[in-house]
């Protein structure tokens, strides 16, 4: 297939977070965490460096705990495939403040670019919709990304899911903190929770 018109991952994530207001953003294990960092380190960024397959569920737990805050998970196709059952769990709970974006380059970029299931078989939009996430979109233009970024702030209409086809170019790694306790406690502090 032609890769000519695929979107740039950094532009996509920058657009998603450009006017983030009170969004809590969760990056998946892999390049998506770097993309979130490249868009600007933020007290409400949750960087995942391990626990592959857990990003969407971290988003669900956070979204249920904070129903008045938009929660945005930005992960990759490999990470989402590993936690695909979580789409069924989210479809059942239907948290209206949770949005999930998959940056789909059809490859495992962190490990040498091996092709993923989305390159030939798996349709994550179809999976998400079939799991009960009615607002599930395939995105291929920046205009659609910008529309989705606005929708993230509508707390009455989620959960929503978007699969964004991106190019497979390797981009510079912008690494955030690897200290998980710091990352979590920084978010908690910003939400007004004191240390125990």
């Amino acid at each position: 297939m032609s890769k000519a018109n695929l979107l740039d991952r950094r532009q996509v994530v920058s657009a998603l977070l450009a006017d983030r207001k009170d969004v809590v953003a969760i990056g998946g294990l892999g390049a998506s965490t770097n993309d979130i960092t490249a868009a600007g380190d933020h007290a409400r960024n949750f960087y995942l460096w391990g626990g592959m397959g857990g990003a969407a569920m971290i988003g669900l737990g956070l979204a249920l705990a904070q129903p008045k805050l938009p929660v945005l998970v930005i992960t990759g196709d490999g990470e989402m495939l590993m936690g695909m059952g979580s789409l069924a769990t989210i479809g059942l709970q239907k948290p209206s403040n949770l949005s999930i974006v998959v940056l789909d380059n059809e490859a495992y970029g962190e490990t040498g670019g091996q092709t993923s299931h989305t390159s030939a078989a798996a349709d994550l939009v179809g999976v998400a919709r079939a799991c009960g996430i009615a607002d599930s979109r395939a995105i291929s233009t920046m205009a659609e990304v910008e529309a989705f970024a606005k929708a993230v702030h509508d707390l009455s209409a989620g959960p929503r899911f978007a699969n964004v086809k991106i190019d497979s170019a390797n981009v510079e790694r912008i690494l955030p903190s690897r200290d998980g306790t710091f990352i979590v406690n920084r978010i908690r502090g910003d939400l007004g929770f004191r240390p125990i």
Binding site: G50, A65, G180
Partner: protein
């Protein structure tokens, strides 16, 4: 059905009510679970509760990640699962020491005390070891009378001391599962 419990259990057990009361007292809000016969009464209580949210999972590892998110958002949770489900969690358990969030899980045991199904024995036999190797403290309740004290201790150390804790609810307490023709 369950049979071969240690005590004569002609009436429904009340220890799940003791667990529920403790979880309520500790302000537990999110209760992810994979359906399990031993937890069925507790799950019913959770689903009927106005303060707790029961969250069915497709696999137990989802629950570990969910509780990390819940804590980040300011809520406590508890993961209900069966011994075989512990095996499904192993990599995700790494989030607990890394993120240092309060983790409590209640594990109904299979593969011990009169088990009839050999397929439950390998994971049931290694549940405690797997949890301990993963950095989780393990407490056990073997009879109904000790459930309240064990739950109190477990919840206190998990939520107050950030000491990840599993309570194994032994098959002797629950009763070995039997299938009759």
């Amino acid at each position: 059905m369950h049979a071969r419990a240690d005590a004569a259990d002609t009436t429904a057990p009340t220890w799940p009510d003791d667990i529920f009361a403790t979880l309520q007292r500790f302000d537990v809000r999110q209760v992810p679970y994979v359906p399990d016969a031993g937890h069925s009464k507790l799950i019913q209580r959770v689903l009927a509760s106005s303060t707790m949210r029961g969250i069915p999972l497709t696999t137990e590892q989802e629950g570990v990640a969910l509780l990390a998110g819940a804590w980040t958002g300011g809520q406590r949770g508890v993961l209900l699962m069966q011994s075989s489900g512990v095996g499904n969690c192993i990599n995700m358990l790494s989030l607990i020491p890394i993120l240092r969030f309060p983790f409590l899980t209640l594990v109904t045991m299979r593969g011990e005390w009169g088990e009839f199904n050999p397929w439950q024995v390998p994971m049931g036999s290694t549940t405690q070891g797997v949890l301990e190797l993963s950095g989780i403290k393990v407490l056990r309740a073997s009879n109904a009378a000790e459930v309240p004290a064990v739950l109190e201790a477990a919840a206190a150390q998990a939520y107050n001391a950030l000491t990840p804790t599993a309570v194994l609810l032994s098959q002797r307490l629950i009763g070995a599962k039997v299938f009759t023709k």
